[in-house]
């Protein structure tokens, strides 16, 4: 069902291992550059999997000016605040608000939403209790008695999953519909989907959607490695030698609003949201259906919502996390929908790593850049396509864009599969 309200993207922001803006991150993709290297976070000599796409040499003040926040929120939140702030600032929405009469500002803010996809499972938060545990051993009574003074009194507030929603609101004055989606890998892209849906349903007139995560921590890496999900060197999506994924960290955000509003204030339009599909395979925490059923259903739902036939899809930004099972089932899902006419496929985790909750929005931000330049960038680490997946239109070199639209795929634990369709900024050509 197509509603009359059209939703466009008027600002984007991003930070990850390859850069501090959508442009620098895009340039790295185009240049075949990756942020993946041996972690510098700890001495990892005994670790079989120890690669990461970390954000290095970036001062907290570069991310968030307010020093007070550096200690009162987590690093993942600083990334989220940075990306969301950039998307808001670049959309020009705050500058526009300043032109409004004072009495209109309150309702403007009440109609401005914040949707975040936030990473979870931060084991490191628990380590703040280690000094107390060392001190008190198995004596829980002492643990309770000596708590005060041994642990940061604001600990709970520091680790709130919804801190980005809270602080984007305080910093930018948005007070409308909001959610913090803690749905592991698909949290960020679902934030975009929910933001767009809120606007089409008149629950908000505009919203910033952000995905942020810092999945790279020793305990997470250790367990993922034991499950056979981590690569010892790099991410090679769809390659016969693919060996797993590599964590990245960072955030990405987009500002969404009503097309007419954006046009009326002369905003630059980066693209148009057309539709989203979201389903679960119901298989459990880490199981993936080999036949790609969940993902193909998500794609079909998204295309139907967008009113777009498969033949009108310009490119696919694959999840392409470089693991054997996910990549293979992703190709099967695409074949189920597109038959032997799959549009040109790219993927970005070889360059930026897997940002988990941040991954889908970063892929979307890069898809918008690809649509602007009308090019499907190559996957630099793809040397020999897995023959069992062939024919499959992924390539180490760039390919021409087929139409003015992109299908962005994102998957996560819990059998989650999402697909999102966007149109490029060139409104003179139909998707």
């Amino acid at each position: 069902m197509k509603t009359s309200r059209r939703v466009v993207i008027t600002g984007s922001g991003a930070v990850c291992g390859t850069g501090l803006s959508p442009e620098t991150i895009w340039e790295a993709v185009r240049a075949g550059r990756s942020a993946i290297q041996k972690t510098r976070a700890w001495n990892s000599n005994g670790w079989a999997a120890r690669m990461a796409a970390e954000v290095t040499d970036v001062d907290n003040r570069t991310l968030v000016e307010d020093r007070k926040l550096h200690k009162s929120v987590l690093r993942t939140d600083l990334f989220g605040l940075y990306a969301a702030g950039m998307a808001i600032q670049r959309s020009g929405i705050s500058a526009y608000r300043e032109t409004l009469p004072a009495e209109a500002v309150a309702s403007f803010n009440d109609r401005s939403g914040i949707l975040a996809g936030s990473g979870g499972g931060n084991y490191r938060n628990n380590y703040d209790f280690f000094p107390l545990l060392s001190e008190t051993g198995d004596d829980l009574q002492r643990f309770g008695r000596e708590l005060d003074g041994m642990v940061n009194p604001m600990w709970l507030l520091k680790i709130l999953p919804n801190n980005v929603v809270c602080h984007v609101g305080i910093r930018h004055g948005f007070k409308g519909t909001n959610a913090c989606i803690t749905n592991q890998g698909v949290g960020g892209i679902m934030a975009v989907a929910e933001a767009a849906a809120a606007i089409t349903a008149h629950e908000a007139d505009r919203a910033v959607a952000v995905g942020h995560d810092t999945p790279f921590e020793p305990e997470t890496l250790f367990h993922y490695h034991r499950l056979g999900l981590m690569s010892p060197d790099t991410v090679r999506p769809f390659d016969q030698d693919r060996s797993g994924t590599v964590f990245g960290e960072g955030a990405a955000a987009v500002m969404l609003e009503v097309l007419e509003d954006a046009q009326a204030r002369g905003a630059t339009i980066l693209g148009e949201w057309l539709g989203t599909g979201c389903v679960t395979e119901a298989g459990g925490v880490v199981e993936i259906r080999p036949d790609g059923d969940g993902l193909s259903r998500a794609i079909e739902i998204a295309l139907a919502a967008a009113g777009l036939g498969p033949e009108r899809v310009g490119m696919v930004v694959a999840h392409g996390n470089g693991t054997a099972a996910s990549d293979a089932s992703e190709v099967r899902a695409l074949r189920r929908v597109f038959g032997n006419d799959i549009p040109p496929v790219t993927a970005f985790k070889w360059s930026v790593g897997h940002l988990i909750a941040g991954s889908g929005v970063l892929d979307l931000v890069l898809a918008l850049a690809a649509l602007r330049e009308r090019i499907v960038p190559g996957i630099a680490t793809l040397h020999s396509l897995d023959l069992e997946l062939a024919p499959f239109p992924a390539s180490p070199s760039s390919q021409p864009l087929r139409h003015n639209s992109a299908l962005v795929l994102c998957r996560g634990f819990g059998g989650m599969n999402t697909a999102l369709v966007v149109r490029g900024p060139d409104f003179s050509s139909s998707p």
Binding site: M1, Y127, F143, R145, M154, Q184, A201, R226
Partner: protein, 430 residues
């Protein structure tokens, strides 16, 4: 927008400190019985607050459930499985192969993903000196447990619930602190209206009643330390209140298309009629004294439901029993209800159950559905001395029989997220 889909609540399930199913919980809430007692799940005797709303005598979800799956669950997930199973049984409808893709799931999930025992194991191998040493994980002695890892993912609850019940459609897991459960139910309503699902299992689950969760709230000074009078410790809107009481549990409801529910002859508790969702954008824990924030969420919920303040007969307040929340929420109620403030019955069932955090909004949504069905406003227990700043029409001393045409449920979270849900009596649905 008047072609908009109407959404019926056709099944409910609860696991709470006052009962391990909805009928028991409801009977105890109506009787004003407290579920707050000395914490027995672990030795809390050294903590400043040693009382809580524990789930008692819970044997885990019923026999029909997949026992293997239970390995992958935290206590809060087991509460969720039991409450969800009850809701589905109560509704008399559940996902079948032919309908599973049209079933959705929307949950407010607790933020704590690891058990205290697991934290202690990591401490023993990697943190004996007090600092975390990553290399303790790879020295060969650390017991790598993939099941414990699966248990500790942010969306493990979603994974377990969708697998157990075969839900294959839209699925989401949200967390906005104490607003989580309300926002999850609100999201479910939107998913139904958008046509992304024809049935949604919606709810919330949480348990922070473990040494680290209790520590977190003690450190903030948010908890009542009335350790010698646990049953009276949670007394929302009372002049002597001195903090909230931490509790645990789960609440779930089955939502389905109004017409479809009618056609199959389902018994309908209430219409889930509207959702309001706002952000205070004020301070992280403080609420604005004027009620700004909750005012918007309540107004939105009313407008969304097509209700006027005149039609509201009952409000299940957030009512945490902290000075700041209670006063600010009363200011918001005054702002929205205006002159009707003297007529609309208000109670906080946290007075009996304590604060179920991410589950609270979903549990209280179920309470509103039951209140409408039975024409009973549950009592705000433990209210002795009125706070002049909280001049509202509180349901005092005992639960009150009354026709409830429409009800609101507020859930206001740390971080400033506010959720208000609006419910309408089935007979009143146009």
């Amino acid at each position: 927008m008047n072609t908009r889909r109407r959404v019926a609540i056709t099944g409910v399930g609860l696991v709470t400190p006052v009962g391990n199913d909805a009928p028991t919980t409801w009977a105890n809430l109506l009787a004003g019985r407290s579920g707050i007692s000395r914490i027995r799940g672990f030795d809390a005797s050294g903590f400043p607050a040693r009382i809580g709303g524990e789930v008692k005598g819970f044997d885990g979800p019923s026999e029909e459930l997949d026992r293997k799956l239970l390995k992958f669950t935290l206590p809060s997930h087991r509460f969720a499985l039991a409450a969800a199973e009850e809701a589905l049984r109560d509704a008399g409808i559940r996902p079948e192969p032919a309908t599973s893709r049209r079933w959705g799931l929307s949950v407010g999930a607790g933020m704590m993903c690891t058990t205290f025992e697991e934290v202690k194991t990591v401490h023993a191998h990697c943190g004996r000196q007090g600092e975390f040493d990553a290399n303790g994980l790879v020295d060969g002695a650390f017991p790598a447990d993939p099941v414990a890892f699966c248990r500790s993912q942010a969306n493990t609850g979603l994974a377990v619930l969708t697998r157990q019940f075969g839900i294959q459609g839209y699925a989401t897991s949200v967390h906005t602190a104490c607003a989580s459960g309300g926002q999850a139910v609100g999201t479910a309503l939107k998913v139904m209206r958008r046509g992304q699902a024809d049935f949604v299992l919606a709810g919330g689950y949480d348990s922070m009643l473990n040494p680290i969760g209790l520590s977190a709230f003690c450190l903030l000074g948010a908890l009542s330390t009335d350790n010698d009078a646990p049953e009276r410790a949670s007394r929302p809107f009372d002049a002597t209140r001195n903090g909230m009481v931490l509790a645990e549990g789960a609440g779930f409801m089955v939502l389905e298309d109004w017409e479809a529910a009618r056609r199959r002859g389902a018994s309908i508790y209430a219409e889930l009629a509207g959702d309001g969702n706002s952000l205070s954008s004020y301070r992280i824990t403080d609420s604005h004294p004027s009620g700004d924030g909750p005012i918007q969420s309540m107004r939105q919920a009313l407008a969304d439901a097509g209700l006027t303040p005149e039609e509201v007969d009952y409000v299940n307040a957030h009512g945490t029993s902290t000075l700041m929340n209670d006063r600010s929420e009363c200011a918001a109620l005054r702002g929205v209800l205006g002159d009707h403030i003297t007529r609309v019955a208000v109670s906080s069932t946290k007075s009996c159950m304590g604060h179920l955090i991410a589950a609270a909004g979903a549990v209280e949504a179920v309470v509103c559905a039951l209140a409408i069905r039975d024409g009973m406003a549950p009592v705000n227990a433990n209210h002795g001395r009125p706070d002049p700043e909280c001049a509202i029409n509180l349901v005092r001393e005992k639960s009150k029989p009354m026709d409830i045409r429409a009800a609101l449920s507020n859930s206001l979270g740390f971080g400033g997220s506010n959720s208000t849900l609006a419910f309408r009596r089935p007979q009143g649905v146009p």
